[in-house]
Symmetry: C2
Subunit: 139 residues, 2 copies
DNA sequence: TACATATTTGCAATTATGTTGCAAATTTTA
DNA sequence: TAAAATTTGCAACATAATTGCAAATATGTA
């Protein structure tokens, strides 16, 4: 397990450090997306706030995690599926945010549909976030 | 012009004040969505930061403007079309963010398509943001 | 393994962003 | 026009994010 994570770091030409292992491990075990604050709280042996910011940024640049544009404009991160490469992401799946429990979930199998834009607009990337109740929370 | 804005405030049972007129006027003349910082910079006779926060909040509650969930998680606001009423918005249109000029534009005529969610998920509201080049910026 | 080099971390300081209470100013109502 | 209601601006505070730099850690190589 920890070995797989190490490999992932090495594969992406990153030094293997405790902070990185710990944060990456969190993502692999998290039920949904993680915010900076979640990571800060969960970290067993405390990781500096700044290190967390920098780690998240590096992971994003390397295509290991992606940010999720939630409706309330809070920043959350989730693991990318394998297809993301350094420098560009291919995160074309829909994200779901539960209004009850707040969990943010990647619906990896639900692709963002294409829309027809007005003349002149050249689309590059689409994001879609659906709010509602997740399978655990609907009454 | 200024008259129409005054009417809008009155129609929504809000006192007519300089700050509100000025901010609302900005929205009517802006090429795209506005962030808090944009308004702070543009304000000719300085409006207090706090007043801007409160004005935006009030406008949103009254259904005059809506927030836009951009991919970079910055908060932007744009005018609602007429159908929004106090308390609930009907902003089911796609938003476009230009990667070149940064403008954020409401595509009022492009509706957010429905997607089929995995079993158990109960959708409530959908948001869609498309990044790319706007009609002014594509080469 | 041990050392030199490169990278990463943690701290302190700084800046940006957002909120709250309250008195003064402005707007509305009558 | 005066009283009541609302809004504004200030000060203080809280939280979130960024930067520079020295110390600590990790990596590559002999």
């Amino acid at each position: 397990m920890s070995e797989a994570i190490k490999e992932l770091l090495k594969k992406n030409h990153m030094s293997v450090t405790d902070s990185r292992l710990q944060i990456l491990d969190m993502f692999y075990h998290a039920p949904g997306a993680l915010a900076h604050a979640d990571i800060e709280k969960k970290a067993s042996d405390k990781i500096d706030r700044v290190t967390i910011y920098r780690t998240l940024q590096t992971f994003e640049e390397k295509g290991i995690i992606h940010t999720i544009p939630t409706a309330d404009n809070s920043v959350k991160y989730a693991l990318c599926k394998d297809q993301c490469a350094e420098g560009h992401h291919h995160d074309n799946h829909v994200h779901f945010v539960c209004d009850q429990c707040g969990k943010t979930i990647c619906l990896d199998d639900v692709l963002v549909p294409e829309v027809k834009l007005p003349t002149g607009f050249q689309p590059q990337q689409s994001n879609m976030v659906v709010n509602g109740f997740c399978s655990d929370c609907r009454s």
